[in-house]
Symmetry: D3
């Protein structure tokens, strides 16, 4: 039995230190990043089990991604290995007001973008899973990746898995039109939609005065069991606010707003998803929102996409941990 299975791309992530611009860098810090692995890793971090499905090149970079997924306790046994393809990369420049942080992708022709239907035996992968999760990045990678995404979603429904989906619109990968066209049919398979106001506007054209109305409209239009929306405020690059709401069966669930001194905001949404799924699968929606919220806030205070916080630290936040040094 595995609690959560996720599917998507993970890239090698290269970032200059000390607010250097990429163009001036003489060293780069190396780690990995990718939405769906971040979710799987976060879920393991909090105590559930998870597997991550992807396609990787059989070279040191592909192995590095596999290793670092294993380091988090994620099951990597379903990864498909490719001989000739490349690893996707991305470069991160950390910002400071008024310069926003910036990502430069070098992910074209990555091994996973060349995945083909039939390469993953989804029935086997999902047969004993409680929940399948993917995001809008995966079908955006290539037409064949979109077909495999559909395979996975369809199989998940067939074997009785819950399905969660994060819209995660990436303008550098596809147009809003194509995103809508490809993903609208996917929504039939989705139980839990995780998104932002901005993404629902860009993908589904939903514009409402209030994020609560957005949640209601999404739930009604697509018949989702749960819609959950994260809300980031940007008074400055180094200081953000963060909270989330969820809507289900006519009820709203909300939480405190975190004041965050931002070390690295990349992965904020994915770690919300991880914390949310942990809470949701262990107790229910209200816990999902609160754990997702705290887990995401904590992640944004340390470096990298992945979250090194513990369940104990999340629960300390929920009880109102102070800002004094712990010693």
């Amino acid at each position: 039995m595995v609690d959560v299975v996720t599917f998507g791309e993970t890239m090698i992530r290269l970032a200059p230190p000390d607010f250097e611009r990429l163009e001036q860098a003489s060293t780069l810090k190396v780690t990995i990043g990718g939405s769906e692995l971040t979710v799987a890793a976060g879920v393991c971090r909090l105590g559930l089990s998870a597997a991550w499905v992807s396609r990787l090149p059989d070279n040191p970079l592909g192995r590095m991604v596999r290793n670092k997924a294993r380091e988090q306790g994620v099951d990597t046994s379903y990864i498909v290995w490719s001989d000739g393809d490349r690893m996707g990369l991305y470069f991160v420049e950390y910002g400071a007001s008024p310069r926003a942080s910036k990502v430069l992708y070098d992910r074209a022709n990555s091994a996973i973008s060349r995945i083909k239907p039939g390469e993953i035996d989804w029935a086997r992968v999902l047969s004993d899973a409680r929940l399948f999760h993917t995001s809008g990045i995966t079908p955006a990678l290539s037409d064949s990746a979109a077909l495999v995404t559909e395979e996975a979603l369809k199989t998940a429904k067939e074997v009785g898995c819950l399905v969660s989906y994060d819209l995660n619109y990436r303008a550098k990968l596809w147009s809003q039109e194509k995103a809508r066209e490809v993903q609208t049919p996917f929504m039939n398979y989705v139980d839990i939609l995780l998104t932002t106001e901005e993404d629902t506007k860009r993908v589904f054209g939903i514009v409402r005065e209030d994020y609560k109305q957005v949640a209601v409209e999404l739930a009604e239009k697509f018949g989702f069991k749960v819609v959950t929306i994260t809300l980031r405020g940007n008074p400055s690059i180094w200081r953000n606010t963060w909270t989330a709401i969820a809507y289900a069966d006519g009820t709203f669930y909300d939480d405190v707003t975190y004041e965050i001194e931002v070390v690295d905001r990349v992965g904020g949404g994915d770690n919300y998803t991880a914390g949310f799924l942990y809470g949701y699968l262990t107790e229910g929606l209200a816990k999902g929102v609160r754990y997702g919220n705290a887990f995401s806030a904590l992640k944004q205070t340390s470096w990298g996409d992945l979250n090194w916080s513990t369940l104990e630290e999340v629960e300390a936040q929920l009880k109102g941990a102070g800002l004094r040094i712990s010693r």
Copy 2:
């Protein structure tokens, strides 16, 4: 003649860079840290003389601590060297709101925790000292360290040294009950108590509406010549406020409140003590509060427990140094 003698543990301090969590670190920055050495070093930094008494293992880590104490100009000739014991260590994780900074101690069975009465010839050490300083961490290390602390305090009084004491309660070392029981008799030897509202509440159970009342109650209850209390405000992890007050003979002494952009808050209290003792011994209480306050504020803007600020920089703060670059 030496101005200040301090007694206590110094540990090797290991900290990951760039807000990394310890669990993800691939390098650690190495320095040393310990309350009473920080006081001795700070006092030297400002122009007085100081000796630090401790017990160290005769290995590269013990020598590193000795070397770095000497680097600050501290007299290390009274250190007792041990053949088989270990060096205490601690790990620091720097925080960002809402995640507080965190210390992981690995100090059990350190050389100093195994110190025995009689190993230090306190009469010789203190014979020509003006002031002896220690803190509540030292007796918390072990029962025998508490006995040696008492030896030192008693001898200080006998030879006519002033005695200053910082309560420095550490919950990871002992209970509040034991801290009270062991330290209450020590207070008879103390002239100057340096503390925080929180520590006096935890050790002596003193709860008053106002920190000034706390100071008065302490002074009256234990007959201290001087009580001085530091006051930290935590609007966020990266932005603190800092000030201090002192009370003696019915009079209060206070100072401006510093707005601090916090690089490293560890050692804030100890550097207040150092600046306070410098001011107090060279001129008196009012100077003590102001120099302690500025010296501590400056220290919190650079990395490590030790303070690399100069007397000139402290005095520039007192004259209202601006925030423009100095060039």
Copy 3:
């Protein structure tokens, strides 16, 4: 044809990482810095051409400066090479409130301070230049450097070059009296004065209630075509505000005020100059102020004197770039 020629000193710049004090550093980050090269590099960065004139020792440090100027696209063919002199150096300590950032110069006897009149063939250098720029640092280096500055200014006027000049008063190089005495005659050659309220007060003794009045008084007193003044606000070391105004022919030009999370403020004024000259030479005064302002704000968010921002990023700021991550 070259758009901008600048003349002045560039030093090797050595800075400890992570808010370390210089005295505690075990590594130093190496780059270069100097007002007039920063201007030339910035102008190239934005798409114009520039040459930088200086005198360098023929050793690895001199070559490093030449190389890094070339890296920016600056024409270095007019540099005079010296066999025996030294490279100027400076050390930067990054501050945090209440400790201001600090520069320690080690520039005495640098190769350029020993430049002699006649060493540069200014008529050739400036014959096809649109604008010549230097700052008050250059004549402050030595009496002979002041003579060469005058040579350059005079030739610029003779060959019909525009002349811009930044007062850039450096108290560590000369007194206010000497700065006034030497530079007052230079003002006759200057078309565009770039300065701050503080520098005009220190060099020309101009004190007015309002920076606009300062601009008017300067323009009237010296007959400048354009006066432009940068305005920095320092609510804290890590958070500054930044804007600028210009005055010409009875008209004021101003711009929005940037809220800056300061990574490295050194070079803020020089990058204003670069952006200003770019805007001014390509379109006119209003564009100069807006491009100078944005280019400077962006520079202050990354490490080093030089600006790695692009014209595209400057223009995104002018259109109101948000603070969300770009991906």
Copy 4:
């Protein structure tokens, strides 16, 4: 089914860069190291499965060790977690002739040294394992660790597991007498002994003219199925030779001698064991010696105890890979 189960201590390993002495270090590189985990990781690296059994403190350092074991693909599900104990540490100084490399242990009172009989359910752990491996370090940690080692060995025999054992004598942990007394009875459970001439001399007092005679004497005296001995030559610190032999049933197996430019020799023996077990379990003794030999030689050319070489690289060595750059 798991191929190999190992049992023993892993420590956090801290090493100064660039041939610095520990006493002068300002940063330390962090990884993990421990004989039996290195074996398990090596075995996984080459394509078999492995589990590592140990006892770790539930803190960031304990989790780091668990994570890095998982990173290598090692099953960590049998680890016993302790609340209050500490992580063992060791410091490595890299040598250069004539200064040998040096290890400073700080492992006393580590969580595993406090393991108690009954804490591990060996019958469950070993029920479907092909081989159990441990080394003479484990019983040297404490008397109770020796008891647990015996439990494991006994159970291995009962459930029909092969047993391999590396003498690995550590003078800093116990005397030669105690090592002999404790381990002699263990030898009854051992099928495969991996060792060096030096260790057999120190532990069993065996001194023969020739390492082949040592192997024969060991095999005869204790009835081992296989004895394998590694042979390091030290013409200098940076240049070693490395080979190994095995003896079984009256036959000797040997291999080429590798000329090694030593980057990090720590883990050389353990990686021989890993390569040997891989070869032995997949084909037999001759393959064991050759794969162990090459895998160990490759490991010594990169940093850390763990081996990042691939099976493909090992096999390239066996086919006589040249020294030209591969591109």
Copy 5:
């Protein structure tokens, strides 16, 4: 007038420090590398002028390559900028015996591989050049890159430029058959062939007992004015020998053999080419061999593809510089 024009790919080069394997790296050192730019940079380093022609993506990585070419004094004004393509990358792992150094390319679909005939105005580029240089890597990048290579070679001959060509066979880019088929016609345009025994064997199938015979056969078969062959000996990874010979008009030119302690061998051949061209263009063949040889040997003692040695250092080698420290 420009002395040398080169044409080819430059990649971002990423290398882990301290003999780490790529798979274990947490930081990577960043620089650039590519055969033909290395030649151009080397030629400038020694005092001639050079331009480098290529196609780069208009992003921070493309600009980094352009900047670093300019840093060396290379004229980059003929570079073609592409909007959508990517930068080629490669990863270097430094070896130690018996593990050879290794390069992992990630260069597919780089901007230059998509260059099309007609994009470069070769007549303009080469009109005032003395020599055009490229290598067998350039036509291997893609069919269209091969066409552009031919355009360049043809134009060079038409405008009266000397042509030098390095076979530089890369098995990862094309087969030996294709390399032969594509390049054989190119040889008609070549005056100076720079190569190794191994490459002539792989590309032209020339196998002779002696490298001198190889040179003669090449010269005769293709009518080259000059053939020059570099000869590396690999007693170990860290210790190589290096020399070269040239053949022209029936005469051989040789030189001393350098004993090299290898810091970074990548770029050894290209720096031979640079030194050779410098010597050849300033004086003739004998000087070419000697300067190429020394310049290459020096380069291999520091990090990166590019050569930071000076003409003065090359000439000191030729005069028999000793191994004592220079101070």
Copy 6:
């Protein structure tokens, strides 16, 4: 009572990592270096007491030198502080065959070069010292530094101190003629001359077939009590041999030759002096040679001028420490 007093310049030492050339460096490692402080530090390291006399600027760099001298246990109380002068600097590039290591000095106008006779109260400094040591670098710094050197030597003789002197000829500081002229009279004050064949040739023009004859000629010509000569062999940059001989009263003392894998050869001679003085002052000449030799060999295996070896490690070498890892 102090055992050894030394007098001379110490500089800040800046070195690029990883065999980078200075011109390509983006970071520099910082430490200190200077012949006479290295001797004082080495003597303390081995257990004697030492003071170092110099003149330093009162800025962070001057304080860094003072701190690092104190870190080694050296008495710094006689240092003269200057307000306006600068700190001398030097840059080190580590070599690899055939490129020798290289030092770039930037020491002109350092604080100590401006020392004046009368600034040091030599009678007080030397009154209770056993030995005074300086080297030929000190009088080479400036004419006034030569006068102060003479003051010191004269006073040493007057108060009955032993005097040791290292010729340490530096061609970048003065000519051979001036070195001879200035230092010949100094030799009257010298008891122990430490030198190399090369330096005696350059300074005193002594050329003999054999270093032993050199020692005899020196002893006879100048009446030295002891002459000791160090002998370095350079088969390659990374591999040196090292030994020394001494001559006194008609007797020669020699020792084994060390094979050294050279990490950093700078300071090799000064650490010989330190070890020699330790041995000589504690037991006599034979011990001096052996301890000097081993202490120097050990120093050359770690980074920096200063020696972090211990007396215990020196004595292990003398007993024939092997090259196996110590654990």
